[in-house]
Amino acid sequence: MSTTLQKLDVAAIREDFPILKQQVHGKKLVFLDSAASAQKPRAVIDAMTFVMESQYANVHRGLHYMSEKTSNAYEAARDKVADFINAASRDEIVFTRNATESINLVAYTYGRAVLKPGDAVAVSQMEHHANLVPWQMLRDAHGTELRIIKITDAGEIDFESLEQVFADGKVKLLAITQMSNVLGSYTPVERLAKFAHERGAKILIDGCQAIVHRQIDVQAIDADFYVFSGHKLYGPTGIGVLYAKRELLEAMPPFMGGGEMIANVSYEKSSWAKPPYRFEAGTPAIIETIGLGAAIDYVRSIGFDAIAAHERGLTEHALATLSDVEGVNIIGQAQDRGGVISFTMRAAHAHDIATLLDRQGIAVRAGNHCAQPLMGRMGVTGTARASFGMYTTHEEIDALAAGLNRIRQIFA
């Protein structure tokens, strides 16, 4: 990847995303909800269409031309993911439905086979429900403990709380986000991994948000588990990734049983395939996986240097512009933060904001963002959230600010 700072050509990028030409309620679409799910570039749409039109059959089964071609394309996507996050081996990449399924897979297999009753799992106060509920379920089914690491008012990990949570040596797994889907805060994952490892714990990183904005190197982080979804990374829905170190995957029993995940089956018993196939029961999301591969190719063709520089500019512009709107309160003030901005307005409830912005063609999310406990922690019942992608423009942020000013007038 180039180390020179290239300027991102937003106009050209927008041409790559057909949906951005759509109108909403007769207005130009201003899409500020990429943190929920990003739009898809032509390259992804075409790759998926190509599979269905010219190169499709089930994978790993047929001995015929189409099956072989499809299997090759499917497995090439695994190589692309491995290379993208710098995994040591392609066998460390397990395809799942999404990050939620990846975390559940770890909770059901590693959680039950390796963690013991009485061991503790630690999560932070700013986790998405996907990285909280599976650990509650594991606690209730398996007798592990669940501990919560506090965050500061700014929305950063409280290291004093982290020390306390780990103090008695019971924590065996730290499951933590790399970027909050509500506050936009990044967490220092390298430091957290080192912290956990020094205390005999593994670390699982929820990379759903971070992987869209930053180059990820799972070996440099020293992540034990790293999960993300394809659909936030400009890829299709229905495909997610679980990265795990080889020795961890080797020690984990299967998640689901069925075809593909076996080595040998008799009526009495079966033996398991090696990772990653042990964890991929049934026909996988073939078309979506190939689509994810195309999304990774697309993102890499733009480059994270350019993406990050563009998004940093957008975030600074948004923080300044939104702060100027009277009555707007931005939730979360982390030093290291990205283009996910939650806010409340004195005069209007988050859902009123979202509906009234929608009338102006502006899409934002409102509510608790699948982080209900975090809402209570930050002292709000819900927020409106604007989130950016590589195709977001400064003008769109100005349109958001103008829209908020109109709402302020309605409720004045």
Partner: protein
């Protein structure tokens, strides 16, 4: 299309006529929307079907609670049940119903299915209160 935030809705959100917990009441009911965190508690005095409420939520829910209190005052249980069904028809179809007067202000929600629950939440809280009297 109908604007979902008619002046009447904004007005009742800002200056409600029936908000607050009364000193005495016969029954209460509550509604909560876990998706957005909206909450409403309805207090019913049987004589005259006098309704007051405490609400924590969006403008649509607040105004709906306030206009509901207007609409049900002095009505019978059967009339209220009918009105509740007809109100749902207005907000899901966008078709106004002259018999329901100011409640037609919510007809614009027909195009915002995700917001219809905001308007019906006070009505389900009222149904719960009526169940207790």
């Amino acid at each position: 299309m109908n604007h979902p935030y008619q002046e009447l809705i904004v007005e009742r959100h800002k200056h409600p006529l029936h908000a607050g917990k009364p000193a005495q009441f016969d029954a209460q009911g509550q509604g909560a929307n876990p998706i957005c965190g909206d909450k409403v508690r309805v207090y019913l005095t049987r004589a005259g079907m006098d309704v007051h409420y405490e609400a924590e939520g969006c403008a649509v829910m607040n105004a709906s609670a306030d206009l509901m209190a207007d609409a049900v005052a002095g009505k019978s249980l059967a009339q209220i049940e009918k009105m509740s069904r007809e109100f749902e028809t207005i907000i899901t179809t966008g078709q106004e119903n002259q018999a329901l007067g100011e409640l037609n202000a919510f007809a614009g929600l027909a195009e915002f299915s995700s917001r219809q629950r905001c308007a019906t939440l006070p009505w389900s809280a009222l149904a719960e209160a009526l169940h207790h009297v």
